[in-house]
Amino acid sequence: MIAGQHPLVPIAGSQDISAIHLRGVTAQYPASSAPALSDANLTVPVGSLVALVGANGAGKSTLLKAIVGLVPLQAGEILVHGQPFSSQRRRVAYLPQIGELDWHFPVSLHRLVVTGRYVHLGWLRRPGRRDAEMASAALARLGLDDLMGRQIGQLSGGQRQRALLARAMVQQADVLLLDEPFTAVDAESRSVLIEVLRELRRQEVTVLVATHDLESLSVDPTAVVHLRDGRIDGLGGPPYDADPGPVLEPWIA
């Protein structure tokens, strides 16, 4: 399978380098007067699955967006595999909240998934046959191969979430940031999504998933991060507060 072909690039000392590292991160939207994320410290080890939980407006999406450079930082720094995100783009796949795309745009499901290859192509280069084949394979893995030619607006909520995960898979990233991937999802889509998430975990892909309700996750996270009013106010938490320590250390100055 696609993600399986992905080599976890061996770098000297990579064992010590966490997949994602936030140190004293304060982030604020340009149009806003207060930071949406304040003084966040977090270390996500390679291969872990970390759930971000918290009420609506707590800052979960902001934290994910800050990692991929969509929200400007007021303070602090974020490293991906020990490097700034701009040098690690290919290795980080970001799944936006489902409402952030224009689903009415005249583009087919297959074409949407091919856009997951663009980070490898850069400007001007067009996707080739290999890119198209990867998209087809990912769609098959997510059970959407019958719908490849369909305009994306004609997909159900669950199919849209599966499409976004397929797109992330063709990127062959080893860090996956998922924003509310279970929103508007039917039972069938949920079980496919979860199956693929489990598979990615076995392949040591690091997953950071924002969800407003932990139960819907159905995959045991390595750790849970609680957000409230833009601050990380706890790690672990029921039913995972038993022992989050060894796998997830908050960064402390």
Binding site: A31, D102, P106, R111, G122, W123, I152
Partner: protein, 271 residues
């Protein structure tokens, strides 16, 4: 049959026809992005804000294209800058810039003597294009089509998922400025056919019609161009035989096609 070929015995009609088809190509193909990216208002704004540049160029004897390009690019950059800041609501900001510059154009126009030239600016005068104009229009059409082809992947992605484009390292703002620049080119050439006032009709109506007929991007561009070709052709014949405004007839034809197509679509979905 003679009635169909007769107008094209005349050199000025040949020029007008060539210019109109090239303008139809430019506006038809670009209009699809204008419609899909909901930039209709910006298109309208740009077509009005090039007025002061056009009037200045006319009164000073500069190249009209140059004058329009300069003020169009200033507008495009200004609008791009305003909407990027996110400080003021975009439509409000555009509204202010748009009416302000158009008002400046109107004031400048009122100082000129020639009513005929004012009329050409406002409503177009494709029957008066020179071979040099046609060459300029062809150049603009070529630039627009070439850039759309070259940046197809980037334009498409930033249109429906600018966030993904940004994360993938394809700067959505760069694409946006490129599109605004193409829009200025299309506006400047389009003004020669239908004038400032009716320009957005030529830019938007064929694309809107095409969007009713398909949900494939390339096919939409093709249909939009075909629609624009039909509209300019009808407009030219109408103005030749009935001595009515060419620009008015072109946009009216495009609007009529839109009404018919949406009527047929509504009837089909009602069945």
């Amino acid at each position: 049959m003679d009635r169909l070929t007769e107008p094209f015995q005349l050199t000025f009609m040949q020029h007008a026809f060539a210019a109109s088809l090239l303008i139809g190509l430019t506006c038809g193909v670009l209009g699809v992005y204008v419609v899909l990216r909901r930039m209709a208002f910006i298109g309208d704004a740009v077509s009005h804000t090039v007025m002061p540049g056009l009037v200045a160029a006319y009164t000073q004897g500069w190249s009209l294209l140059g004058g329009a390009l300069v003020s169009g690019i200033v507008t495009a950059l200004g609008i791009g800058w305003i909407s990027r800041r996110g400080l003021v609501r975009e439509d409000t900001a555009i509204g202010v810039v748009f009416t302000g510059l158009f008002a400046l154009g109107v004031v400048m126009i009122s100082a000129t003597k020639s009513f005929k030239d004012v009329n050409n600016l406002l409503f177009g005068n494709v029957l008066g294009v020179t071979p040099e104009d046609v060459a300029m229009i062809a150049g603009s059409a070529l630039v627009v089509c070439a850039v759309l082809a070259l940046l197809h992947k980037e334009l498409e992605l930033t249109s429906f998922d600018p966030i993904h484009a940004q994360v993938a390292g394809l700067n959505a703002d760069v694409v946006r400025y490129v599109l605004l620049f193409l829009l200025v080119l299309a506006v400047v050439v389009g003004i020669q056919a239908v004038g400032v006032v009716l320009l957005s009709g030529l830019l938007i109506t064929p694309a809107a019609t095409a969007s009713l007929l398909t949900n494939r991007l390339q096919r939409m561009m093709l249909l939009s161009v075909v629609d624009a070709f039909v509209s300019v052709t009808i407009g030219l014949y109408a103005s030749y035989y009935f001595n009515v405004s060419t620009g008015g007839a072109i946009v009216l034809a495009a609007a009529a096609i839109f009404v018919v197509v949406s009527g047929v679509r509504a009837a089909k979905s009602a069945l």
